[in-house]
């Protein structure tokens, strides 16, 4: 079905079901319990999960397949966001033209950067992409402020000359991003007992686009083109002597991957019409790399898991303060309670970076293949298959 193999189809359907039921899955704790802090099922974070998932899927097409490690991928994310916000400012608050323009602009950007950077390979390529992205970031923050609004980030204002649409709504507000009238920010809440589930229009738009992107990525992985990209990673020399030119293949992969990043950037702007220069900083590029490696580079689902993992820490762990920790352990005697809080304190709230750093190290030390390998190990245990068998099947289908 859909031109996918059985395994791919299963994977796709699992992802689709998870994406569609995310508001339930991510909100497992009743809202009035102490654990509600760990709920991730609110629109903004769910949107971020799928949008950064798109970014990581796209990055993986380049890095996972060809092995070219771009350290400047965030530049495309940023350019995509700027393009989308300019579309909102100048044309219409409809998200479709914004998304299209963000993909086109980032694609063009990727052609230029890719054409130059792909003349080198290995770490030289990484540094070239890094240099381009840092230049973009530094200029966007300073000299290019008329286009990017610098430090603050490009926003929608009340005096935008919107061609199709109004500059301001009747009650003097700024119009809202929408899909043919369906507002991205609107949501419905479903209360079942002590649980509250939020269904956001923006999330579902982003989720459907993520599923399409994921589907396209699977097709690319299984296509002759995807195979060529893996061949490039494996042995470029042989490829040249087999009558194939690696350069256009890598450039195509780079551009596709850049357009994915642009799409993600455009979607970020659709959900929240602001484009900040920090989106292009090297730390943001590094984050994409980390997401992909953390989840499992070269695997289909890994990067999405990695993206979710990092965004979860960023948004959930950073919000846990001492007051919250006290609430969790309030059943303990006061002295012990303070002791436990003191232990947890360095790892949450302002210490969320510490936890994230530790998680990076633990995962890469104990799960060399990333989160996907963790999943594989668990399922292997469950199935109680001989380990050999799986090792073989895993190695024959490296792109799973």
């Amino acid at each position: 079905m859909f031109g996918l193999g059985k395994k791919d189809l299963t994977l796709f359907l699992i992802v689709a079901v998870m994406a569609l039921f995310a508001p339930f899955i991510l909100n497992p704790f009743p809202t009035d319990s102490g654990m509600a802090q760990f709920n991730a099922g609110y629109p903004d974070l769910m949107q971020r999960f799928v949008i950064f998932g798109i970014l990581a899927i796209g990055f993986n097409i380049l890095f996972g397949l060809t092995g070219y490690l771009s350290f400047g991928h965030a530049a495309f994310l940023g350019v995509g966001s700027y393009a989308a916000v300019w579309m909102f400012k100048l044309l219409s608050m409809n998200v479709i033209p914004a998304i299209l323009l963000s993909m086109i602009v980032s694609g063009l950007f990727a052609v230029v950067i890719g054409y130059v950077s792909l003349r080198r390979s290995g770490i030289y390529f990484s540094i070239l992409t890094l240099a381009f992205a840092q230049m973009s970031y530094n200029l966007a923050y300073s000299v290019l402020t008329p286009i990017t609004n610098g430090e603050t980030g490009l926003q929608i204002t009340l005096d935008d000359p919107r061609i199709l649409g109004v500059s301001a709504t009747a009650d003097g507000g700024i119009p809202v991003t929408n899909l043919f009238g369906l507002e991205m920010r609107s949501f419905e809440t479903l209360n079942i007992g002590p649980w509250a589930f939020q269904f956001s229009v923006g999330y579902y738009v982003a989720a459907i686009i993520m599923l399409i992107s994921f589907y396209v990525a699977i097709r690319i992985f299984r296509s002759p083109f995807g195979m060529m990209l893996r061949a490039i990673k494996s042995n470029q020399n042989r490829l040249y002597y087999t009558g194939l030119n690696a350069r256009p293949y890598t450039l195509a992969a780079f551009v596709i991957s850049g357009m994915y990043a642009g799409l993600a950037g455009g979607l970020l702007a659709c959900m929240d019409p602001l484009a900040g220069a920090e989106r292009m900083q090297w730390t943001a590029s590094g984050e994409v790399v980390l997401m992909t490696i953390l989840g499992g580079a070269g695997t289909l689902i890994g990067p999405v898991l990695g993206a979710g993992f990092i965004k979860y820490f960023e948004n959930i762990f950073s919000k846990i303060n001492d007051q919250v920790v006290h609430a969790w352990v309030s059943f303990l005697p006061d002295g012990l309670e303070n002791f436990v809080v003191a232990i947890i304190h360095p790892f949450v709230g302002k210490g969320w970076h510490l936890t994230l750093g530790l998680m990076f190290m633990l995962i890469v030390i104990f799960l060399p293949g990333g989160l996907v390998e963790g999943g594989q190990r668990i399922s292997r245990r469950l199935r109680r298959k001989p380990a050999e068998d799986d090792a073989k099947s895993a190695s024959t289908e490296p792109a799973e």
């Binding site: 290995g122 030289y124 540094i127 530094n138 200029l139 750093g357 890469v364």
Partner: protein, 343 residues
């Protein structure tokens, strides 16, 4: 003319810092083949060695000064360092004043220790792993290290002054026949430049003239062959890692008076030092040093008003622009060898 001389001086100084960090990074790349994202953190820890020693020397007991009050209106408690109790007021104050140079001695064993523990405990297990895994684990380590420093010392920069005698600046211009105050340069920065030159020289001499260095250089050129010769290259690599950590740490110690250390200074330098290493050419020590000074000087030139007025924002991007140009014209950087980190 005077402006150019001035910026060359500035560039040499910036270049010293770049070159020192890049040197250690290249040692690790070249010998161990490891992409060490935690190298910036080692530089930062070096700077905090200076802070720590300063703190240790100023460990104090409090004496109540009845004549003054604190912000809540209570009698003011004045800190009296133990060092002054032991060595007397004047000598004690002098020791505190010289805490940064003293921290050089203090930091060497600490940095070597940290380097060796890092290599034995963590990096060793990643020699055969893909570069991507190395990046992830060392990046994780860098975050952990800087968060630990943040928990201890806070996020704000901590002033760590140089000894009093190095305050102020030296007037080069008068030596060269310019007017006074045209070409001035802080004493401490001269010290830093000299110090960097000594360290770089020492590392090169060590690699050039000792058997140990010869083995390591051979290992950098062809690791497998050296291994086949029955030489225990692993132990030497551990020592090399310790050495690289010490070089980064010393760069940090001496840098503390130039810019007050803060917990994220390592990350600020990390990207730049990678650019320097790659522009110099992977695995080339002279390349790293050369690139460090080159980029430092170019960065200084780019900050001149005359150049900025022609090319606005050039100082924002100069390093990256130069890196791109060099990598496009010289595929393996200034002095890189073929086949190192190209896949």
């Amino acid at each position: 003319m005077d402006a150019i001389i001035l910026q060359i001086l500035n560039g040499l100084d910036k270049g010293s810092a770049y070159a020192l960090i890049a040197l250690g990074l290249t040692l690790i790349f070249g010998t161990l083949g490891v992409v060490n994202f935690a190298h910036g953190a080692l530089f930062m820890i070096g700077a905090f060695c200076a802070v720590t020693l300063n703190r240790l020397l100023t460990l104090s007991h409090q004496v109540v000064d009845e004549t003054r009050t604190d912000f809540l209106g209570n009698p003011l408690k004045v800190d009296v360092p133990y060092v002054q109790d032991i060595f007397g007021e004047v000598t004690g104050a002098a020791i505190i004043d010289w805490s940064v140079p003293l921290a050089i001695l203090f930091s060497i064993p600490i940095m070597i220790g940290i380097g060796v523990i890092m290599e034995r405990g963590l990096i060793k297990h990643f020699y055969k792993r893909p570069h991507a895994d190395q990046i992830l684990v060392t990046f994780g380590l860098a975050i952990v290290l800087q968060e630990i420093i943040k928990q201890i010392f806070g996020a704000n920069p901590i002033p760590t002054p140089a000894p009093d005698v190095f305050r102020g600046s030296f007037d080069f211009g008068t030596m060269l026949g310019f007017d006074p105050n045209v070409i001035i340069y802080p004493y401490w920065r001269l010290v830093y430049f000299g110090f960097a030159a000594i360290i770089i020289g020492a590392v090169f001499a060590f690699l050039q003239f000792t058997t140990f260095g010869m083995v390591v250089r051979a290992g950098m050129a062809d690791r497998e062959t050296v291994g086949l010769l029955g030489i225990n290259i692993d132990r030497r690599f551990t020592i090399m890692f310790g050495l690289a950590a010490a070089v980064a740490g010393l760069a940090g110690v001496m840098y503390a008076p130039i810019n007050s250390p803060n917990y994220h200074m390592g990350m600020d330098f990390l990207v730049l030092s990678f650019v320097v290493v790659v522009v110099g050419g992977m695995g080339s020590l002279p390349g790293a040093v050369l690139a460090g000074f080159l980029l430092g000087i170019l960065e200084s030139f780019a900050s001149m008003n005359e150049i900025k007025s022609i090319l606005p924002g050039i100082d924002q991007i100069i390093i990256y622009l130069v890196a791109i140009i060099i990598l496009l014209t010289r595929p393996r950087g200034l002095m890189g060898r073929k086949g190192v980190m190209e896949d």
